[in-house]
């Protein structure tokens, strides 16, 4: 019951944030120096035609009215139309989102599956050579520009060693679309060639995306475990003779994960932002690449749609993180 209330509370808190997000994006969109209507009108449009279009899209009305109209439009799930492809932005985004999702999930999997154990080990063997080595790696992980890392990886693995593809998402006909995630679809349809190709294409971008996040997770897990390691209850559990593996694997980890989980929620934003450049470098046909394309084409609607969509996802993931935190730590619900 309390958990339900907490969930409801968190959901309710999402509303003003999302509203603020929409207003923010709206404000950004209305300070555009260039004229999107002129683009829309085509190459030989007359000023009258442009004016007519401006009127048709409501761009000649006062800003608050425009904001209201924008909100109404959003409420219908309409992010507007791409000035370039002429398709609804939502269609474009949904078409590309599975690619980004697949990439992000893969990066997240690498981050968590590698980062958490490494962080725990670093804490348990604090100040050992392993800990120092890991610290060096994580510090560099946070300092490296992901686009540069991506290029260097391409240089090594694709251009020099020719082991992995340079970019793209798959090198063979894609598997039948069930989820839109190629790896998953290939598994489900038993398409071995597609699976292999999809995995090969996934390797470098996922690792590039994961690397800085990995550093964060390792650091926070390590700090969290260290924190818990010196807590009274671990001492008490030891004094009560519980075996070390049980203490570490069960009692300690769950406590330490709270710090890590919060970070994972925040990291999602980092991954999403990282996807923009990583997808660009690796030609990964996701929403990040879409955004960069939109930048090149000055497709404002698309950029704003992407921004809004990212913000929405981010808020959503943070909500999920908080709920996860609540399941992990019952004290959260009472805060």
């Amino acid at each position: 019951m309390r958990r339900l209330l907490y969930t409801a509370k968190r959901l309710a808190l999402m509303v003003p944030t999302l509203f603020g997000l929409v207003v923010l994006v709206f404000v950004i969109s209305r300070v555009i120096p260039a004229d999107p209507v002129a683009l829309l009108a085509g190459e030989r449009a007359t000023p009258q035609q442009i004016e007519a279009l401006r009127h048709r899209y409501g761009l000649d009305r006062p800003l608050p009215v425009q904001l209201l109209a924008y909100l109404r439009q959003l409420a219908r799930g309409d992010l507007g139309t791409s000035l370039y492809s002429g398709r609804p932005i939502t269609t474009d985004l949904f078409g590309r989102f599975p690619a980004t999702l697949e990439l992000t999930l893969a990066a997240m999997a690498i981050t968590v599956l590698l980062g958490v154990p490494l962080g725990v080990l670093a804490a348990l063997y604090r100040n050992s050579w392993f800990d120092h080595l890991l610290r060096a790696v994580t510090v560099s992980g946070l300092a490296i520009a992901s686009f540069w890392l991506a290029i260097m990886l391409q240089l090594l693995f694709s251009m020099e060693l020719r082991l992995l593809p340079l970019g793209g998402r798959i090198g063979v006909p894609p598997p039948r679309a069930l989820t839109g995630l190629f790896v998953l679809d290939a598994l489900l349809t038993g398409n071995g060639a597609a699976l292999r190709s999809a995995l090969q294409h996934l390797c470098l971008p996922a690792f590039t995306l994961a690397f800085p996040a990995l550093a964060t997770v390792v650091r926070f897990t390590r700090a969290g475990v260290l924190d818990v390691l010196h807590s009274d209850f671990i001492l008490y559990e030891r004094a009560m003779g519980l075996p070390r593996p049980l203490i570490v694997g069960k009692y300690l980890l769950r406590n330490a994960m709270a710090a890590t989980l919060t970070q994972i929620g925040l990291l999602f934003g980092v991954l999403l932002a990282g996807a923009v450049v990583v997808e660009t470098v690796f030609d990964w046909p996701g929403i990040g690449l879409y955004a960069v394309n939109a930048i090149v084409l000055s497709d404002y609607n698309a950029i704003l749609g992407f921004t809004l969509w990212s913000g929405f996802l981010y808020v959503l993931v943070n909500l999920l993180t908080d709920l996860g935190l609540m399941l992990l730590d019952p004290r959260e619900a009472t805060r």
């Binding site: 009274d232 209850f233 001492l235 030891r238 004094a239 009560m240 003779g241 519980l242």
Partner: protein
């Protein structure tokens, strides 16, 4: 006074902590004995090494920075200091010796319900002969769980925890401090231990609650014949609860006596001045102990109290006084005797 062999005997225990500032000689030859079925009070001011002694007995001194440099801890004829960690964890800690900690909120794992924590204590400390893998697997079964829960509930009733069934599903933060202390007492008694070490268990509680807890603890351990090493700084608590008392000062024990004898005939100058410091409305002026507790990084040689002792003699600074028997069960370490 029973002449049975002691349950626990600590002999010449020495413990150091290596810190950035230097080596802290936290314990320097501590001796104490806990007799079967008795409550031994270990009393002293903050930093005198009470808790370090308890941790050394349980074998949970963090090392590094801690290092036990000498002495023996005899428990049931075995020297715990020579037992491997595995053995300690399997047979001694949480089985034969249990702990009631001071910080009730900090000591309980905040993210697991009580049931999990209680069951694990039982599960990992089975009766002798059921320690194999199969035994462990069996103890993850439903039948064992039912029996164990029944056992736990019975004990929770004994410690008078309100609504014991409901309590099992709750998390530590959902209890009051007094309730948590009852829980921890139950947890300490759960494996039916030989010795319970209670480390200032009532310090954080209000006096009315403290009185309840002390009475409960005394009744339970006396019923079961469990020995208790009760660590406190509060002489009032000692008077109310303990059968015998050992007084510590700056990492050494200075006096051991039956409780009544200690309060009526304190022998060591430190004990005397400690008692004189207690607020007492009948006295016109309070007597503090002049000076400060010496740093344990470079502690005074000989009797560590000599720097503050009004009756100190030259030899006090040279050698630590040997233990002298003043009366049956009353020993003191002072050159005056």
């Amino acid at each position: 006074m029973s002449s049975a062999p002691p349950v626990l005997e600590v002999r010449d225990l020495c413990l150091r902590f290596h810190t950035d500032q230097g080596t802290v000689e936290a314990l320097d030859g501590v001796n104490l004995r806990v007799l079967p079925g008795e409550i031994l009070g270990l009393v002293g001011e903050s930093g005198c090494g009470k808790t370090a002694t308890a941790r050394a007995i349980l074998g949970v001194v963090p090392a590094p920075p801690g290092e036990i440099t000498g002495g023996r801890i005899l428990f049931g004829g075995e020297d715990l200091l020579r037992l491997p960690e595995r053995e300690l964890a399997r047979r001694i800690r949480g089985r034969a010796i249990t702990l009631i900690p001071q910080d009730t909120l900090g000591a309980l794992n905040p993210v697991f319900p009580l049931r999990t924590q209680l069951l694990d204590v039982l599960r990992w400390h089975p009766p002798e002969g059921d320690g194999g893998l199969w035994g462990l697997l069996r103890r993850y079964g439903r039948r064992w769980r039912r029996q164990a829960l029944a056992q736990i509930l019975a004990l929770l009733r004994q410690v008078q925890l309100p609504d014991p069934e409901g309590a099992l599903a709750k998390y530590p933060h959902e209890f009051s401090g007094g309730q948590r202390q009852r829980l921890l007492i139950a947890m300490a008694l759960l494996p039916n231990p030989v010795l319970v070490i209670a480390d200032e268990p009532t310090t954080a509680l209000d006096v009315t609650i403290q009185a309840q807890i002390l009475r409960l603890l005394r009744r339970l351990v006396k019923e079961r014949g469990t020995s208790v090493l009760f660590i406190t700084h509060d002489l009032g608590v000692v008077a109310r609860l303990c059968d015998r008392v050992t007084v510590m000062y700056a990492g050494q024990e200075v006096e051991t006596a039956p409780t009544a004898a200690l309060f009526t005939r304190p022998a060591h100058p430190y004990t005397q001045q400690l008692l004189a410091s207690l607020p007492d409305h009948r006295k016109e002026e309070l007597e503090g102990i002049p000076g400060v507790v010496p740093s344990l990084i470079d502690p005074p040689r000989g009797c560590r109290f000599h720097t503050r002792c009004s009756q100190a003699r030259p030899e006090c600074a040279l050698t630590r006084p040997p233990e002298r028997l003043l009366a049956p069960g009353h020993t003191v370490r002072c050159h005056l005797y």
